[in-house]
Symmetry: C2
Subunit: 354 residues, 2 copies
DNA sequence: GTGGGATTTGTGTACGTACACAAAAGTACT
DNA sequence: AGTACTTTTGTGTACGTACACAAATCCCAC
């Protein structure tokens, strides 16, 4: 590690003062073209990297980050994202960060609109969005673009927008992976099924569609003779879910593998268990408390996890980097790893450690 | 985030000077019992956390970390650990960290002794150890203990020692996981085999034994009727390996699932591929370049990955925390997640992102 | 060329901690 | 009580950056 070049060194080398270098580093304007060019040359020659610590020390501003995600119910999916966000805020406690949650009900478009409206009104320094309703998100983002407020997506991405940062999984590949697992876990020539939630127009609909496409692609390629049934079941009303699921099972006794393309695998698992149906493999998404329980018991065979905590964590730290150091750091779209969790590796599964 | 309490606040509240608080925070001695108690009380009442940035700024010492691991060959297992270590050093480039590698040949106990000897002679500030030879490691550690030099283990742990920090996986659980995967991936009633390297006395031997135990445990519990063969093959001499593996295949035509309990799965995969043997599922450890290649091709069915990069990364950052802030932070033994990699999720697998 | 406004540049201070050094208090012994 | 020494305590400075403010320079109309 060569001795770090400091701002004063840059200034000396470029024949200007430290103040001017600072102005250039922070795009704060009021710099003559001559100075700018001289400094930029020295900057690139020396490969200057400012000291993150002294930089943070001198920063006295307070930053407000608003987080617009579906209500985080304890132990469910969005709560993991929240946990990651909180972890990051805690990690960066040496910088004044204020976070505000603007939760919305992911099944109620009006609550989403209201929540999003309040965001632009409060003009925060940065926003983290868990996008569910596409057109509402588009509207919010275009407003944020106009206000020059940076924003990050977590969980999924809405086409055509240009977030500062985004974190998601390639859902098609998730679908492929689920298909593969289910295929492995379902011996013999039986059929497979996809269960997805009935309110597909709302709940992370993009994700579900792409997952399904991947799933179908796998079987189309590897066993085109297989019959893939598709069922939608209610994720809101327990009685209705039970009816939907049981009806399906009765009508399709050959099905031995079920993919639930959202986090509600446990609902299906619990129904099957209650009815003593034990010979069906079940794969679903997201390591929620309920899904953990079912994996441990064996009523869910595998779960795909997209590291929601890390997504939240990186969204915060990325936005901070952007705010404080206007680091446009190269990669904007981050595709998370696709983790496979089964009963055996569940006990040690953690998204991050120390 | 409540306004942070600062050292001066603590000093004022405890009726002493900032210098005294500092001495207590850093265990630098020369403090009267009265002052110590007063300060410690205020410290715990206020939940003081020093500012990591200003702390780093004021630190002007240079720290030297020596890394004693088997030679990191590009693209192989130990190289991943090295990558994580380098990543951490880079991340902490605002602190003066000097790292030195004391590589040793993991198949040559004399090189290990020589390497370890040089470490204590150079009296570094901290050491990262990838322990292979148990008794040599014991000797090194007792010397480090005497010199009060903190050290961290990566990859595995030697019993009875007391490292400042350790990172490894529960190898028994890894074995269970491999068994489960192989069981899933091997349809019908065929037999399974374990292949392990012949030089088991040396190479990460602890790991191999525990993996085997987990593997056997799984089959003992779930299908006690299965026949598990065990074979050792050379990992050093290609011709010898090939002979060993082919001989085994010929003598055991019923085997359809092979677990390689180290990172040399690709050797077996390549031999099988070369001979056109395509109906055997293969599961092994560690996401080396060669194993990646085989997963993509389909000649390896799955790989267990123990996040070696993260192990290296956390070893460095943990030791730095210990050195700079003598934070004994609670957990010392870190058991890493057990990742399952198959062809589908390989493309997006990364140990960490931004 | 001079005045005055706009632009550009330089300087000084604050941030919170670590540590060296100086000062003060305590202790033991004559 | 005074001396010599040890232990304890307090103070001042440096770290590298961000930013406010003062100073210098430039530009143009008269």
């Amino acid at each position: 590690m060569a001795k770090q070049v400091k701002i004063k060194d840059i200034a000396r080398m470029a024949g200007v003062s430290a103040g001017t270098v600072d102005r250039i580093l922070h795009n704060r304007g009021n710099v003559s073209r001559t100075s700018r060019e001289a400094v930029e040359r020295v900057l690139s020659e020396t490969g200057y990297r400012y000291n993150i610590h002294t930089s943070a020390v001198s920063l006295r501003k307070e930053y407000r980050i608003v987080i617009a995600i579906p209500t985080a119910i304890k132990g469910e999916y969005w709560d993991s994202i929240r946990t990651g966000i909180e972890h990051a805020i805690d990690e960066y406690s040496d910088i004044s960060i204020v976070r505000e949650y603007a939760y919305y009900n992911q099944f109620d478009i009006y609550s989403c609109r209201a929540s999003f409206k309040s965001i632009t009104e409060s003009s925060p320094n940065a926003v983290i969005i868990g996008p569910t309703f596409a057109s509402e998100t588009r509207e919010l983002c275009s407003e944020l673009d106009r206000m020059k407020i940076p924003y990050a997506f977590v969980d999924s991405v809405i086409d055509g927008l240009n977030p500062t940062l985004s974190f998601s999984c390639d859902q098609r590949t998730c679908g492929l992976t689920v298909a593969r697992l289910l295929h492995l876990m379902t011996p013999g020539g039986q059929d497979f099924a996809i269960l997805s939630s009935r309110r597909t127009g709302n709940e992370r609909s993009n994700n579900s569609l792409a997952r399904k496409a991947g799933f179908m692609e796998y079987f189309g390629r590897n066993c085109p003779e297989k019959n893939i049934r598709e069922v939608k079941f209610s994720v809101l009303d327990p009685q209705e879910s039970e009816r939907d699921v049981l009806k399906f099972i009765e009508e399709n006794p050959d099905v031995r593998g079920i993919a639930v393309l959202n986090s509600r695998g446990f609902i299906v698992a619990d129904i099957l268990e209650k009815r003593g149906i034990g010979n069906v493999s079940l794969v679903c998404f997201d390591l929620t408390d309920n899904n953990r329980r079912c994996i441990s018991k064996g009523t869910i065979s595998a779960v795909i996890c997209q590291r929601p905590e890390l997504q939240g964590f990186y969204a915060v730290s990325g936005l901070i980097r952007n705010l404080l150091y206007n680091q446009e750091d190269g990669q904007k779209e981050h595709l998370m790893p696709i983790d496979i969790i089964i009963a055996e590796n569940l006990p040690y599964y953690k998204e991050y450690l120390p």
